[in-house]
Subunit: 340 residues, 4 copies
């Protein structure tokens, strides 16, 4: 249930509504809207909701009470009408300007990160990605450099000015990752690691939440809901391919998810064409497709020497190919009223 | 196996190669290439193919013999290097110019077809689609107007000049459909109706082959192979969405399939954003995504009054929305070096 | 809509109801029930069905009128309460006794068919399967022996007494296949070849309808509906594996479909563990699982020399392995109150 | 790579091999086999493995060196030939005797747990399941009673003697869960929460690892590998349904996975028919199918009052229905040479 307050509602009126929600056994959550105050009514209580709607509708300062059919509330566009963007350092994701995040899958060495950072910045990337804690299918594979890797990312940021996006996998690592990262990434395999989502929601860091490859769009939004419910509104959603019977590509890019998500939620939506295809040869056309479909940005794997990458080499672009991709984005973006 | 002849190979040299293939127990198929003659070696004989490669490689006029790892031969790009396009009347599908096919799901009345045909032509569509024989999930649903519907399409063609694309479902109907249609459509549910593919391959009509929603890309190409193997080279492939666990949209647009198919085959590839999404609200962004990803065209459902359409109303565009889609295509196409 | 007549309803009362249905613009279909007469109301007319229900409910001899929420009507258990079985020669599918159909994927030679037929009969199979017209992914693969193959099957039937199940792919072949076959098989790839379904429905042959690997259960029942709507009630449904992201097996056996189908429809349901797994090593455990889940029978691929089979060798059982499978079925069947 | 020592190999010979593996840059892992000692060679080093195989093969006490093509090593049947079972208290999972785990989805109250525990014990269940920390799609749903719930489970154990299986979601909760639980459950959504897997591997508790609904069988085994690689060999695998396009059931039971897993790994494999179907009406037939296919046990949701369950009520059995299921298992198990 969503209670929208009138435009000129007073603080006292708002407080009364919040108290009434609590009395009814639910948890009120004040959604910091720009134009008007919106109270989400959270929790599951065995009370006739229609009766409750009537009760709230009659209170002073209340404009409208809506029953939400979708289970996601905080991430719903209804809860946040109007524009919304997430700031990472100086970069704003979700506005007219397309944001491209680029960098290696894994941080392997300082020179590798620095070389990549310089190259992607030169081509127009605005954030640097790189994994220091790596979720790998096998425990016997390279697991990332840990804090050493984070320091290399920080060095690259110091030189290039690009804010850092990096993955956190374990609540125990959250502190150390937060010390270095500008934006936390929740990986696809942890999309329903609800504990990690909660802990992340308690930080003030913006979060890049990747869709689980076997997760429906509504479960994706419910995962975002976990972060928002802890008080952190700064979530960017990332479509990165889903599993299907088609095995010609590593995953199936769910391009439909772009307009669907943009319709359901105010949260920014970006596309990861590297994981979604699994093959560098298809990264550019799918990246352009994502922009044409309305994505707010891209996250792309770039490696100076893909053949010797310790992970995801097959889907990583060389810096020159990335430059070519960015040239393509620069042409398609204006055709859908976006800039870069 | 593919035998590429030298550029200046003589007819006698070619005939010798063809004869040698037959003697070995295989069936030679001369692929009418533009630059050079290419012989596909068809059939399954228990002979050591490597030995055979050596034998053919040593013949006069032969440039190169390649073993094909993919099971599709005639539809493989290797079998047809260089550009290729399919002509439907005056319209050429597969060149630089994007071709948009539009019209109602089902032909319902002459006025409905005429009104739609005029509107889509005005917005830039170059072929008219419309179903007279309809494959419906239920035998109790509207099954199409049959030949009466074909006549209405012909009337619309006479007035607007738009060539007609219409589905054939039953070999018994092939003659009557061929009398009216400029291009035959094989529907998604019949993609592996191998008998129908063969019969269609024996006509001289260009064929629009829709991908089965549960079919892999390689099976899609093998279905095209059935038509090509009968001697009809004029096949256009249409991605129209695959099934997946995601139920927010009717199907999942396999946008990856666009660049993958363009890499594997010389056959033109178009996208059907209407079926691939199942919802008119997502048709435009997905159509633009298809163009950005490299599709050679689109097929779009348009109905003057979607709410009263006898089929697929939910995913049909009103003429005004179609005009808006075409305006979008006109902007995105040049950004990927295509025209409209 | 389903109109159930009272137990003692007269022919005149029934005729009146049938006429009233026609007058309303629908098509009445008399379902030959054992205990009571049931009229299905077919077609799509823009009439308020609730109003119509009232009208019919008030007629003499009518017991009850039900709105059917499922789109399948004739194949619904509601349309045919009580037991139902399909007879193929002397064999009855759908009763307490489990029916096992066995034989080679393709008919390759008279000796191969005869040897297999003798072996599977000795182990307890009650019908003989074998393909003479083969739907193959590639036009360049072995396509079956055609009528010559049908004759070989007939020879095997003459010697062993086993009725024959064989596939029909093309309406043009229906006559010849009907001359030899005791039961027609519609293959998985033709499950939504609605023309073929209709033609088959016009024969009096029992039909084995295989589920399309990308088809939902409700579409499977709608395909059966096409056959039933033409007046042929003798349809046996066959689960044979669906496509999924899991690639360890060729298909994913949808074992849930067995109890689900048994709940929705009166039509007998059998399992094809050969296609559903794609590997002979898993055929026996999955066959037993099918029986335990409630299947009415099995169809199993058996070949005297799987390594040299012209199709599906990997999933074919040797006669000795088939005997072992049958021994397993003989133990599991009584544990779920079935016999063999 | 797997190094199998000869049956009478000495400790000195074994130590030498372990040292040689370390020197080569890999990590040796001594697999505590019953009959013979087996050393797994872990890690990824850029060394020619064939060369290394030769080197190790020549060492004293070595019987055989095998390259493992599958990426899972410790969970591979090759690494552990011969029988294997996991002990939970007095109960042994993986032997001839079928083990059934039963209990409510969520622990809701002491009386609910006690009533259920008594009932399932009376029907033959040998372990008690119950969730105190609940992974829920929505942050606004009931999240479990936490330690209070664990105490209720302990009370039920004290009375009935049934060991307890309960889920752990967060590394921070591992200590408290370990204090109460006899067996730790890793839920389906955390199957690739590699941090949690590692932490769990460092306990000495047996682990019930549920398959992620979007995870391939090889990824499932790799997840088990994470636990095993930390030194905890006591993992039981649980198939609980995968996602697919079929929406008639909540998930698709991957029954093929039972024989496939039994062939690939020595780890015990059980089936969860409650989640795999999502509907109590299909739980019994699918449970019996699992036993017939070779599962070592079942985990079943039972609730004294499913209509008022706080989670998963739709798929929970009443105690009387569970008794009926157990009666069915008691009949099917002997038909596949198992007891209960």
């Amino acid at each position: 249930m969503i209670i929208s307050m009138k435009l000129g509602a007073t603080q006292v009126e708002l407080d009364d509504v919040m108290k009434a929600v609590e009395t009814s056994g639910f948890r009120p959550f004040l959604n910091p809207g720009v134009e008007r105050q919106v109270v989400a009514v959270l929790g599951e209580v065995d009370i006739d909701k229609v009766e409750l709607m009537d009760q709230f509708s009659n209170m002073a300062g209340v404009e409208r009470v809506q029953l939400i059919s979708e289970p996601f509330k905080l991430s719903s566009r209804q809860a946040h009408p109007g524009p919304f963007s997430v700031s990472v350092g100086e970069v704003s994701i979700g506005g007219t300007r397309i944001v491209v995040i680029a960098g290696p899958c894994s941080v392997e060495s300082e020179s590798q990160v620095l070389e990549t950072a310089r190259a992607v910045k030169a081509s127009g990337a605005r954030l640097l990605r790189g994994g220091a804690f790596k979720p790998r299918s096998s425990p016997h594979s390279f697991q990332g450099l840990g804090e050493k890797g984070l320091k290399m990312l920080a060095t690259a940021r110091a030189e290039t000015g690009l804010p850092i996006v990096t993955e956190v996998m374990d609540p125990h690592d959250l502190d150390v990752v937060c010390r270095y990262a500008d934006m936390l990434q929740i990986g696809a395999r942890n999309m329903q690691n609800f504990s990690l989502l909660r802990w992340t929601g308690q930080t003030r860091h913006p979060v890049l939440l990747k869709r689980g490859p076997g997760s429906r769009i509504r479960d994706f939004l419910m995962a975002a809901e976990y972060i928002l419910a802890e008080g952190n509104p700064n979530v960017v959603l990332c479509e990165r391919g889903i599993i299907s019977f088609e095995d010609a590509s590593r995953y199936t890019t769910d391009i439909n998810a772009i307009p669907i998500l943009k319709g359901l939620t105010h949260l920014p939506v970006i596309l990861d064409p590297s994981h979604a295809t699994g093959n560098w040869a298809w990264v550019k056309p799918i990246a352009l497709a994502g922009i044409a479909a309305g994505a707010d940005g891209l996250i792309v794997e770039v490696h100076p020497d893909p053949q010797h990458a310790r992970s995801d080499g097959k889907q990583s672009l060389k810096p020159s190919k990335f430059a070519d991709l960015m040239a393509g984005v620069a042409r398609v973006a204006p055709a859908v009223d976006r800039s870069i």
